[in-house]
Symmetry: C2
Subunit: 104 residues, 2 copies
DNA sequence: TGGTTATTTGGCTAAATAACCAAATACTTG
DNA sequence: CAAGTATTTGGTTATTTAGCCAAATAACCA
């Protein structure tokens, strides 16, 4: 493995890591419906606002989310529509409802 | 959030977590080409075989990989073809080569 | 300006993770 | 059966991560 390959893998792994936590995944799923502000997401996740804020800035850093300030609130949304496909693939591996045939 | 939703999110997050490490992602990418045994993957990753083995069993546990023993070797392969789409989406967020427009 | 609300940042602690080494297990072959 | 090879498991340590609280920052309004 070349060092360039290693770097590419690390960057891509960082994007995945940004979704690899129950609260962060829940946030990503919620944002598929449209943008939300931090306080809405705090209610959704049920953690301290500072905790949620750290999750969000980590996801933004990874390129998964973008944010946009309007008045007192900061609204977050998904950076990419393709995340929908991403999550649909996920459901083939870890279905929400049990199936006899878990995957393709 | 109901507890059922929390559980579903955790399961899905576990699948993502199984790919959220540079070595594990590299393994998943390599297995897109076809199955490999542990010692091949150890050479690819460049870590101790026990480390690679632990990564692999974690990925299998999450449902990302399946394994199959033939003779002395244990061959691993991806559990699902859809991982290709998964990784392509990833490249829109974290491209291998820099682009002026990082995402959709 | 001073108060109020939304969000982020810094600091700390507890828990989870990744790595290595050594030992155990499983299979094959002489 | 003994020796050799491939893989896993157990144990330990260092690092990273997640969470909370308290304090700082930013924007709005009276």
């Amino acid at each position: 493995m070349t060092s360039a390959q290693k770097t590419a893998s690390s960057k891509r792994a960082a994007v995945i890591k940004a979704l690899a936590h129950p609260s962060r995944l829940l946030i990503a799923e919620a944002l598929m419906e449209g943008e939300m502000c931090v306080c809405d997401l705090k209610d959704l996740v049920g953690a301290d606002m500072s905790t949620v804020s750290k999750h969000l800035s980590m996801m933004r850093q990874a390129g998964v989310l973008v944010s946009d300030k309007r008045g007192l609130n900061i609204y977050y949304r998904l950076a990419c529509d393709c995340l929908g496909d991403f999550l649909r693939c996920l459901d083939q591996l870890a279905p929400k409802k049990a199936t006899t045939k878990p995957c393709c």
